[in-house]
């Protein structure tokens, strides 16, 4: 892959690649290492990029890179970063804003504590907006598996929301 092609196909999706890697690793430094390795692999495997869906292709490489690194070491189990600093919704009054921030923090922590299989389908669907078919390709599982993982992941997250709702309004 020429440098120009790398800049055209990979660099535009670097944020997405990092976001995905960050949710997989739950650690900034490790996510950076994963993305860096993935980019080197992307160049080596440039021939495997079919069509123009460079983003899904890059996700697949990021995922494989993370998996092979996680197998090679125990570093995949990284401490959770402290959640916080979420932007407040300006349309809400201060009390509502605080509540909203708490809910966002709580849900983010809930996603981080999901098993990796569930976590990644949530991230790819909700944050990256991939279709079921695209997720199936990235994660390399049948469509039905994507759907069941997504449904179960949402059930868990909704349970967290429900618990929080009950705390606020007993």
């Amino acid at each position: 892959m020429s440098r120009q092609r790398f800049e055209e196909t990979v660099l535009p999706h670097l944020d997405a690649a990092f976001n995905y890697a960050r949710w997989l690793t739950r650690n900034d430094a490790e996510a950076e290492d994963v993305v860096q390795d993935a980019c080197v692999r992307a160049i080596r495997f440039a021939a495997s990029l079919r069509g123009d869906d460079a983003r899904s292709w890059l996700f697949t490489i990021v995922r494989n890179t993370w998996y092979s690194r996680a197998r090679g070491s125990q570093r995949a189990i990284a401490p959770l970063d402290a959640a916080g600093g979420e932007p407040a919704d300006e349309a809400l009054d201060p009390e509502e804003q605080l509540l909203q921030q708490q809910r966002v923090s709580r849900i983010r922590a809930a996603v981080e504590s999901l098993p990796a299989d569930f976590r990644e389908v949530i991230v790819l669907r909700e944050l990256e907006g991939l279709s079921y078919k695209e997720i199936a390709a990235v994660v390399d599982v049948p469509l039905g598996t994507v759907m069941s993982r997504l449904a179960r992941a949402r059930e868990r997250l909704l349970a967290v929301l429900e618990a929080q709702r009950r705390e606020v309004m007993p």
Partner: protein
């Protein structure tokens, strides 16, 4: 459609992954079922909350690192591809060259001295005592300064213009040094009376990346030295030897 059937398709409905017909059926059920409507709302709330969480964007530092690594990997990849081909080529050309090429003799003390004198002349400011492209100016300059008359020939027509001369010191004796140019390269030609008078052909030597040509003719020993490529220095030496012998005869 029952609530159970709808619940099975709830995620696909929210994610707009249902076919048009199925989506319409779920939509119709939801409009009349508070329970299922609530479950759709829950999922949409969840989506909103997830998307409100900060997006982890790549840092500028990562972007830079990746670009650098990519450039390097790309280079290494190409290198690997060419290495095999290059290795074969080197073996073939190398074996042919070893068999066919006149091998320069290893550097001896005199060759090292010649190269050292050449380097000294380029590094210091003493390349010329007489600066002229006219051999009728350069040749008389040596008269009275040394006890021999070095042949001074003009090779401008052959692409090696004379640019001057000086006295130098080589192998514990004073020698005449003629300076020729070829492109950006300087050729020093050292001339002194030969120790024994027999004429020799042109011999090739190398030291530290400099090439040296040595020959003896008409009682004079010549050393031509330059960083010029082998072939051109040989051409220069051949022209010098030819013109000098013509002048001497």
């Amino acid at each position: 459609m029952t609530c159970e059937e709808v619940e099975r398709d709830l995620d696909a409905f929210v994610d707009r992954e249902l076919e048009a017909g199925a989506a319409a059926a779920v939509g119709a059920h939801i409009s009349g079922c508070l329970g299922c409507r609530g479950r759709v709302d829950d999922r949409q709330t969840l989506s909103r909350l997830l998307q409100a969480a900060p997006y982890f964007a790549a840092s500028d530092r990562l972007r830079e690192r990746v670009t650098v690594r990519a450039a390097r990997a790309n280079w290494i990849g190409q290198l690997a591809r060419w290495t095999a081909a290059a290795a074969v080529l080197i073996i073939v050309v190398g074996s042919a060259a070893a068999l066919l090429w006149p091998r320069p003799r290893p550097a001896d003390d005199l060759t090292a001295d010649v190269v050292a004198a050449h380097v000294r002349s380029l590094m210091g400011e003493h390349l010329f005592d007489v600066r002229s492209s006219d051999r009728h100016t350069v040749k008389p300059w040596f008269l009275g300064k040394i006890d021999f008359a070095p042949p001074v020939v003009d090779l401008a027509a052959l692409g090696f213009p004379l640019s001057g001369g000086r006295l130098d010191y080589l192998a514990r004796r004073t020698v005449a040094a003629l300076v020729y140019q070829r492109g950006g390269h300087t050729i020093n030609v050292f001339i002194s009376p030969a120790d024994d008078g027999a004429d020799t052909g042109i011999q090739s030597r190398s030291d530290r990346g400099f090439h040296v040509r040595h020959w003896t003719h008409g009682g004079m020993a010549f050393w031509a030295v330059s960083d010029l490529n082998d072939a051109e220095l040989t051409a220069c030496a051949e022209a010098l030897a030819r013109e000098a012998s013509r002048q001497g005869s």
